[in-house]
Amino acid sequence: MTLDQPKYKTTDEVDFVVIGSGAAGGIIAKELSENGFRVVVLEQGPYLTEKDFVHDEIKVLNQDLLTNHPDLQPNTFRKTPDEKAKRQRAVAYGRLVGGTSTHFTANFWRFHEIDFHERSKVGAVAGANLADWPITYADLEPYYTKVEWEIGVSGLAGASPFDPPRSKPYPMPPLPVKSGGVIFERAGRKLGWNPFPAPMAILSQPRPGRSACINCGFCLGFACEVGAKSSSLAAAIPMAEKTGRCEIRPNSYVHRIELDANGRATGAVYFDAQRNVQRQKAKAVVVCANGAETPRLLLLSANKQFPDGLANSSGIVGKNLMFNSGALSVGVFEHPLNDYKGFAVSRILHDFYELDSDKVGFHGGGGLDARFDQTPINFALGGLPPGTPRWGKGFKDALSHNFTRTVEIFCHGTSLPVENNSFSLDPDVKDAWGLPALRMTYKDHPDDVKLSNWLNARAAELLQAAGAQKQWSFPAGEQEFSVHLLGTCRMGNDPKTSVINPDHQTHDVKNLFLCDGSSLVTSGRGQPTMTIEALAFRAGDRIRALAKRGDLTV
């Protein structure tokens, strides 16, 4: 936290209030404050810094140091709208300044051209609400480049024959290869595929105030203690603070956006750390609270004009929820890989990004990565082959043999938008502030499950070609939990079938903008954060243009 942060009063009408400080919120705050606007960022979680980012698995994973806590903010889940939802954890997201970008894997794939016009290319998919984006890959390309250069992404341009066109190489070389990555690369090539160095939002070279990755090995699920992971906390927020025009206000849980008589948003209503209600006045509001909390906030903000939820004249706020499908195969090798050292992923492949549905019998595509993302306790509890003794000498022997010799092949793929899959307000369960809990309704489209199992068969082939001494696969089942929260306030030109226009402005409220995973129209093939950040840079540009044109009176 820098000293030059301004402290605005809640009664000061700032130019923008940004709700959420994660992947999108951090960048929007940076873009707007760098362009001269006065910005308050309201973040529900605390402002933690590098000294807080320990490697204690109990504290970080078990006690939700960085994430939404299921006791304070319970979720409920059901598969279909005719069921009564049961209380269970359905989502995990970063609840701190920097949001989920602080503790993610940092796989940073760009979307490909197909992801933006899939509906036109493949036609309708039964049971899915597939649509084209109102923008194209070419529209977003300059912003992908901005993310890579300004936020910090390591990778090797041109290494994948399937990569979409790019205007500039990566700003820094890929991270070092891990043993699991070498195994993956050799076996993949043997099979005629094209493994390549993973683009990662982790620094391979230092930047001012940030270290290059020190390969500590506590990466997925943990926040970086040296600023190497390109989270909003490490990258965008310090730049926003440096302007002297942006205040990051932690422990501020926004639960309502109010409108004036003219139907314009007047700011945000939130609980402060003492659970007192505060109102931050602003000329315009940008919601970047993630694909679960953004629609929830709109639904919580229902009023006379919008009885079904703010900016919800279309009725689709919260709907078309997508996760990204996933499946996993695991291999154990003869010699130590020591893949516990370092970031999670060093090699990926995109040979199956666009599958021919006539040949495979389902829609979609995906990518594979070689990873080891398990910390010691997690590994001991869940990383050993099925059938391994769970205690005693046999357990100990397997643990001491396998920990250094295991690599996982993770399959990431399409999640089709299905209207019934949604976030809504639970009618019974309340959170610790007395607000309706987040209710998830979700059942995978059958093609998503078929795709996952198809990709997992490729992962198993790869492990076999690599000479794994032991291997096993977890068949894909229907998912009931996710960290990818996408599509719930989708972008489009038609106010009847979308919530925001291509400028991220809600169709219904002119000075209300949404930008985060909820904006996505399709799920891509597994790694949404790069696209969320590119959208945030673009949204910053669009909002600034509108403000200059006077449409916003800021």
């Binding site: 070498v182 509890l381 005693g392 357990f395």
Partner: protein
Amino acid sequence: MENNLSRRGFLSHGLSGISAVWIATHWPAMLSAASHARQAAQSPTPAKFEYFSAEQAAEIDAITARIIPTTDTSGAHEAGVVFFIDRALVTFAKDDQKEYVEGLPALQARAHEMFPGVTKFSAATPEQQDQILESLAAQSGGEGSRPFRPSSGAQSFFETIRVHTISGFLIDPDSDRRGNRDGVGWKVIGRDNEHMFQPPFGYYDKDYPGWQPNPVNADKTKT
């Protein structure tokens, strides 16, 4: 202290791209945090338990020593897992006290029932102890799925103490949880007790010649 010094050595001499700016701004805070954790972890183990009586602690120690036995390498006993569980029950695992309060006497009754001459678990032979635990494990339900987090909702005494033992054996030794004493648990699984590493990491990347474009696609791929 050794670990602390080697970290310091890495910071000042290691060349893997740690920026001078970063060191200048973060070193003091990081060293003080690390040395604090080290002191906490290395201060002589207090004889006093925070939750268990000495008698209970001896039984818990004996149980953990069968869950992760001492072989040619260290086990739960050497890692001081009983101290981890003792502290766990007054901190993050308070809710599990009931499992221990009810589970330990039940275990003793089971020991006596199976081996009438045996008055307490710790007095049984290792073979008998394994049989007693097997009879509990058989009751305690099946294998969990791949967890995102260590299970905190373990349903039985055996499952609870099993998860606690594994956690206490493998927790970051720099934490203040009194587990994984001297990093012996990490040594058993082959994890170096460091938090900074440099490539090459393992067997398969040590002779990696560097990235080469796939010859099959040389025509399609351009840099």
